[in-house]
């Protein structure tokens, strides 16, 4: 190594290095973490959650295969069975939500969705009035790295047509009759009104929406999931 003159010239740095050599292992580790801490103090913020990465091919594939849809009838079935392994999100405004929403749905208007507190590994079912907003929200969540995001096919419109006010097609086959009988029960569970030819009139779209309290779901009290909104 260099002579004594060198050490003197390098001054305090060399003295420090000399002291480090004399230090015990614990002291060295202590010095190391202090140094890492000091760098951390000036390194800036480690949160980078707003950046997104999109696998375009994967997304396009999902869209094309339509595996990201949930049929209203299936959703109705889940609710009747009391399944709780998914979260149903109503993307409409609070006023619309208060007027009517699918039982067990939580209200999270589109703009609030990224901060709503959904888990990345949770199964999420989105719905809006038609299909456009839920498709946009679906894309947003997918981009943010949420894995299992689904849309209610046809949105609330189809929910009304297929679940709340199911219609018996004219000249129905026996199969269709059986299916309609089943849907009648489900519809009544949700406080809906099944339509047969007798009640069906042209342009009959102003069926009364069920009152919110009406459907008694066997699932856990519906207030519970909504509470999460205030949590954090």
């Amino acid at each position: 190594m260099g002579g004594e003159g060198n050490v003197r010239q390098k001054g305090s740095v060399a003295v420090m290095m000399l002291n480090v050599k004399k230090m015990g292992r614990n002291a060295k580790l202590g010095l190391l973490v202090c140094l890492l801490g000091l760098i951390a103090a000036f390194a800036g913020n480690p949160y980078k959650g707003t950046r997104v990465t999109i696998d375009t091919a994967e997304l396009a594939g999902i869209v094309q295969r339509e595996v990201d849809h949930v049929n209203p009838v299936d959703l109705a079935d889940w609710i009747v069975k009391g399944l709780t392994d998914y979260r149903l999100i109503d993307l409409r405004s609070e006023a619309e939500y208060d007027q009517y929403h699918i039982p067990s749905a939580e209200n999270a208007p589109l703009a609030t969705l990224p901060d709503y507190g959904l888990g990345h590994n949770e199964k999420i079912v989105l719905y809006s009035e038609g299909g456009i907003h839920s498709a946009q929200a679906w894309f947003l969540l997918k981009a943010l790295g949420y894995k299992s995001v689904y849309m209610l096919r046809g949105g609330l419109d189809d929910w009304k047509d297929l679940v709340l006010f199911p219609a018996l097609p004219q000249n129905a086959t026996s199969e269709q009759l059986a299916a309609f009988a089943k849907m009648t029960e489900i519809s009544k569970h949700f406080g809906g009104t099944p339509r047969s030819e007798a009640t069906m009139k042209a342009g009959d779209t102003t069926m009364p929406l069920p009152k919110l309290q009406a459907p008694a779901s066997p699932a856990a009290p519906q207030a519970a999931p909504k509470k999460k909104k205030e949590g954090c």
Binding site: N26, V33, A40, N45, P46, K48, G119, H120, N121
Partner: protein, 206 residues
């Protein structure tokens, strides 16, 4: 729809769906074995060793815990900083201030009386220590009692909720600065603990 130029966030692995529930349980099992092994090798399966902490003669537990905390803290900070870990997805236990203070006191009293904390009791059971087995039986009985009495305790259990809070968020200081200050506190605590151990064992000898 462009690939982000920066490094792709990929951790926490579970939250990004790299594996499912069953594999995460397997991983937890393996990590648990490693954790238990390290605790046992550090001597934390012995109530005598653990009690040294309260007589100030052996502060190894304090030192190990503080070392673990700052190692993990620096790891999380730098992994987040280089973009490997999405810190916002790391699960934080929500804070319920009052119940957690009371719960901490009860746990501390149990630790002093029983000689173990729940984790070290499990470690000590693995070497068939009788005191640890009876301690763990007590823990299980306590969990059962708590579960049965939960309707009575529920209101207190959910009292003073603060959500998921962090020190930087609570004190409105930059994350890195909080890291630095905690490192300094830990290093000072480590040095202080060593000094206390020397002083106390010296008094014992005299």
């Amino acid at each position: 729809m462009v690939h982000e130029e920066a490094m792709e966030m990929s951790a926490p692995f579970f939250k990004f769906g790299m594996f499912g529930d069953s594999f995460s349980l397997l991983l937890a099992f393996l990590i648990g074995i490693g954790f238990g092994f390290a605790l046992e090798r550090a001597g934390f399966g012995s109530a005598r060793k653990l009690m040294g902490q309260f007589y100030l003669t052996d502060l190894a537990v304090f030192k190990v815990m503080f070392t673990a905390i700052i190692t993990a803290m620096l790891g999380v900070f730098y992994l987040g900083w280089i973009g490997f870990l999405d810190v916002s997805l790391v699960y934080l236990t929500p804070t319920y201030l009052l119940p957690q203070i009371i719960g901490g006191l009860i746990l501390g009293i149990g630790f002093v009386i029983g000689g173990y904390c729940p984790g070290t009791a499990c470690v000590a059971v693995s070497t068939a220590r009788i005191d640890a087995i009876s301690f763990l039986a007590g823990v299980i009985a306590g969990i059962f009692l708590f579960g049965e009495a939960f309707p009575l305790l529920e209101k207190f259990y959910n009292a003073t909720p603060m959500g998921q809070v962090t020190l930087p968020g609570l004190l409105h200081v930059p994350y890195g600065l909080a890291v630095f200050v905690i490192v300094l506190i830990a290093v000072a605590g480590f040095a202080g603990a060593t000094w206390v151990e020397k002083a106390m064992s010296g008094r014992k000898g005299a």
